[in-house]
Symmetry: C2
Subunit: 163 residues, 2 copies
């Protein structure tokens, strides 16, 4: 007889998923402090600037996928076995959290662009580290990298158009 | 007659303080994922390396002071009036959260040192931005800057001693 009944194991997994979701949406919530206001409205925008309502749903989906991806990797042995991939994941999450204060808080698109380039590299490194661990987790991060590529292009353009 | 009774205002302040504490201790909790383990134990250490038990209480006190400092500034008009100081504060908090995954997660003291230098600059900029807003909030961050200076020196030494 096992000393760890399956029920207990499942509870642990469910708590783990909840934990990753809370963590990712905590980082996301930093974005809510600095909503695009007057300053953003007055910026010159490129023709391909997406409508404002698109960002909320897209980011919500991306944070949820991010949390599930981290959870899938974490399930395979926790922080001990997956130290390096999860460290890269948390690094990209912290860089993600820093972008909104830099752009919408400080109104400093140049610094925010430098930061989003680091974020892009950290996401790419996380994807590379997830790849040998869990195939679905890897794919769950691809839309995120694509969106951050687009966001970086938009950030760069907004910076150069409004010097 | 006022439409906002004082009781309601006080409730809002209390929730604000709770919010800042949760935010700062969430950043702190990232540190708990990667406890100093075998790798850290085998690192060559300088003679002035402090005993391990010191870090927990020191960081707990520093995170609490940090939260109170942000709250004191936030009380003076919220994110609209204090956009810039609070954006700097959140930037330093994100950089703070990134250090543990880089050092204890990736075992990459060189990159962690580069990052802690950015953290130091972000804290110094936050202190400078808090200064005209709230004197006590400013002083509450000074021990934090002092400790991060020490931590940066320790990080640098651990990096160079273990190349």
């Amino acid at each position: 007889m096992s000393t760890t009944p399956p029920k207990r194991f499942e509870t642990r997994l469910a708590f783990g998923l909840a934990g990753w979701l809370v963590l990712c949406f905590s980082a996301a919530s930093l974005g809510a402090f600095f909503m695009p206001g007057e300053w953003y409205a007055t910026l010159k925008k490129p023709l391909w600037n997406p409508p404002g309502w698109i960002f909320g749903p897209v980011w919500s989906a991306l944070y949820a996928m991010m949390a599930v991806a981290a959870w899938l990797v974490w399930k395979r042995g926790g922080f001990v076995a997956q130290r390096r991939p999860l460290a890269l994941f948390l690094t990209q999450l912290a860089l993600n959290a820093a972008w909104t204060p830099l752009f919408f808080g400080l109104h400093w698109p140049g610094l925010a662009f430098a930061e989003i380039v680091l974020l892009w590299l950290a996401i790419a490194a996380t994807i590379a580290a997830f790849r040998p661990v869990h195939r679905i987790a890897t794919w769950l991060l691809v839309p995120y990298l694509a969106w951050v590529s687009f966001a970086a292009a938009l950030n760069f353009t907004l910076w150069r158009l409004n010097l």
